[in-house]
Amino acid sequence: MATESVTAPMPGVFYRRPDPEEPPFVEVGDEVTEGEKVGLVGVMKNFHDINAPTDGTIAAINFENEEAVEAGDEVIEIETA
Amino acid sequence: MSDARIERTELPDARYEHGGDDHVFVELDESMSFDANFRAMAITQQIRERDIEGINEIAPANASYMVQFDPDVIRPESVLGELREIAAETDIEEYSWETRIIDVPVLFRDPWTHETLMEFRDRHQTPDSTDLEYSAELNGFDSVEAFIDAFVSAPHMVTMVGFVPGLPWCFQMVPQEDQMEVPKYKQPRTDTPSRTIGFGGAFSVIYPVQGAGGYQMYGRTPIEVLDVDQELPGFEESMVFPNPGDILNYRPVDREEYDAVRERVEAGTYEYDTATAEFEPDEFFESPYEYNERLSEVLYE
């Protein structure tokens, strides 16, 4: 078992859902595949996809929806098999 | 017909301020008046005629004006000196200009601004009424109809263009005691339909493009005030139609006429209904209602 982190590529606001009415992209325990969208970072009204770097299971989501993130912040942790 | 006059406004000493090292801002009065606006227009016209090297932007506003310059070419103190000199030499007593009187058809209570204003009710002073209902009550009118009648009963003069390209700020051409005032939204909206007729402070506006805005929304015009491609008739000289000093005559239309005009605008065949006249401030101040009547005759005959 190993853990890989998903980092915020730029400073902005972290979004766990595509829009306020929709369910979150992922929850802790969800299986994800490499390249799957797991969140968004918004800055200047642009939204940047955050994708899983690997197949695995979501082990932790370290930020709330709409919380401020810095570039390099580890927003999500994925446990790989 | 009222025989009211518009009293001339004695302007205070102008206030000169440096906006960084490359702008000078000049406030002619804290309050809005035709005198302050006409003086801003007259002075900025003089600045333009002097063609001072280094000055890039000359922007008249409602009761103030601003210039932007290249501080590597002309020093800020020199700009300020030039402006004071020009102001001292500018007398608006004999100031008059050729004005355009423009017919602006308006569909009041249109479905588009209505949908938008309902969407942003939580940012408004009165969540339970419309912008028009709120404005009518605030200004002591019994009904929305009576408020609209007052809004269109006298033309509105363009006193400033800006915010975004082509947006005219207009001041209704009546004595101050007959002018209406409304606050802006408590929190600006993130959306306003293009061509919305708005009102805030004592100014009516036409929003050229869809976007943020804070003015009360009353209706929508089918005609454009901005054409960036300059393809529509009337935009040959500039991508912006209204100029300071123009006079807009808002005219209520029904949905059928709105659609018909809009169709012609979109086909590129709509010609603005305009007329020109020499605008004489003295005559206007002396009997504004009668003067407006004459302007209206020039336009519609």
């Binding site: 590529p9 730029m10 400073p11 902005g12 800055v43 200047m44 009204k45 642009n46 940047h48 401020a68 570039a71 | 301020e17 440096h18 906006g19 960084g20 090292d21 490359d22 702008h23 801002f25 406030e27 009065d29 804290e30 309050s31 809005m32 008046s33 900025t44 890039n56 932007e57 000359i58 922007a59 506003a61 409602n62 103030s64 601003m66 932007q68 501080p71 590597d72 800020p76 400033m160 263009v161 800006g162 915010f163 390209p165 082509g166 700020w169 001041f171 005032e181 606050p183 802006k184 600006p188 805030g200 402070g201 004592a202 100014f203 493009v209 976007g211 960036v228 991508m239 912006v240 300071p244």
Partner: protein, 323 residues
């Protein structure tokens, strides 16, 4: 030709700006960090007002279909050319068929990419600068996206002379200096209470995620206006004035401050309380979302001196380079 494979967060074509149209509501647009933009052009031997790319936060991926000479300045952004790192502040040869790939900026917000010959999009009202709100200038008046093609101006192919050009590190202004951003307090500052007027320059302000080319929206302590009977036409809120023109760099106060930037709304009815001086707008333009900024009050004389010092620094850089 430069073919865009990935647009990035917000990449636009900018030159020094579009002047003479403020009175119809048209802001100057142009490079947010004018110093870095000028240095980029100087490195590749362009005129100072040649059009270059302004890449914000995440840069673009660009395939060159012809030989070119480029230079990168401004925010630190890891950039690779066919997998090899590209030094910043140097003229670099690019061969036809090579792909330039820009990552996220690691320090600062805006990186400039100049190409010898300039980016040859049509001028609109005397400028190639992009103004997205009404969609003019640059490429179709918008930010770049996948599939776009940018023509490069003549002179790009014969730029052998500039290939040795680079700017020594000590000459390059830090993109995120610790010192304050200098302002001339004024315009409607008298509308603030004494406490709030002091707070403007004492407080640390945080750059919000909305801060963009139109305005830098900041967050910090609440500032209060002196209560008064509002002048006729101003509107009822104490922050309202009879609508005025906003200087570029002016700090307006709807509630929290917004510093008006180069795609400015040109006027409006909120009190402005000071103006960031021309040199330090470049510095502010490199502040990232969530970073802080504090304002330092200076006199007009100090602002003029800062401008002179900047001009001398720029001149020294330009003179050290081959044209």
């Amino acid at each position: 030709m430069m073919r865009i494979l990935e647009g990035g967060t917000s990449t636009t074509v900018q030159d020094l700006g579009r002047f003479g149209q403020y009175h119809i509501g048209m802001p100057p647009s142009g490079a947010m960090d004018q110093f870095s933009h000028r240095v980029a052009n100087a490195l590749v031997g362009n005129d100072e007002d040649a059009a270059a790319l302004e890449m914000t936060y995440q840069g673009s991926t660009i395939e060159f279909t012809e030989d070119a000479v480029i230079a990168l300045t401004g925010a630190e952004m890891p950039v690779e050319l066919d997998g090899e790192p590209v030094p910043m502040y140097s003229a670099v040869r690019v061969e036809a068929g090579q792909t330039l790939d820009a990552e996220f900026a690691t320090e600062g917000a805006r990186t400039y990419l100049a190409v010898a010959g300039g980016i040859d999009v049509p001028e609109v009202m005397g400028s190639r600068s992009t103004y997205t709100l009404v969609g003019i200038g640059g490429l179709e008046g918008r930010t770049l996206q996948e599939g776009d093609e940018l023509p490069v101006g003549d002179g790009g192919a014969d730029a052998e002379a500039v290939l040795g050009n680079s700017v020594a590190e000590e000459r390059v202004a830090g993109v995120a200096p610790e010192e304050g951003v200098r302002v001339i307090v004024g315009l409607f500052d008298y509308r603030l209470t004494d406490e709030s007027r002091a707070e403007l320059t004492d407080a640390e302000w945080t750059v919000t995620p909305e801060a963009d080319r139109v305005g830098y929206r900041l967050e910090g302590p609440e500032l209060d206006f002196v209560e008064r009977e509002q002048p006729f036409g101003a509107g009822t809120d104490p922050s309202n004035v009879v609508d005025v023109g906003y200087p570029i760099g002016s700090i307006q106060l709807p509630q929290q401050p917004i510093v008006v930037m180069r795609d400015a709304v040109t006027g409006g009815g909120y009190a402005t309380v000071g103006t960031v001086i021309s040199t330090d707008r470049d510095v502010l333009a490199q502040r990232r979302t969530h970073e802080t900024v504090s304002f330092e009050a200076v006199t007009l004389e100090e602002a003029v001196e800062a401008r002179t010092a900047r001009n001398e620094r720029l001149e020294a850089i330009v003179e050290s380079l081959d044209p």
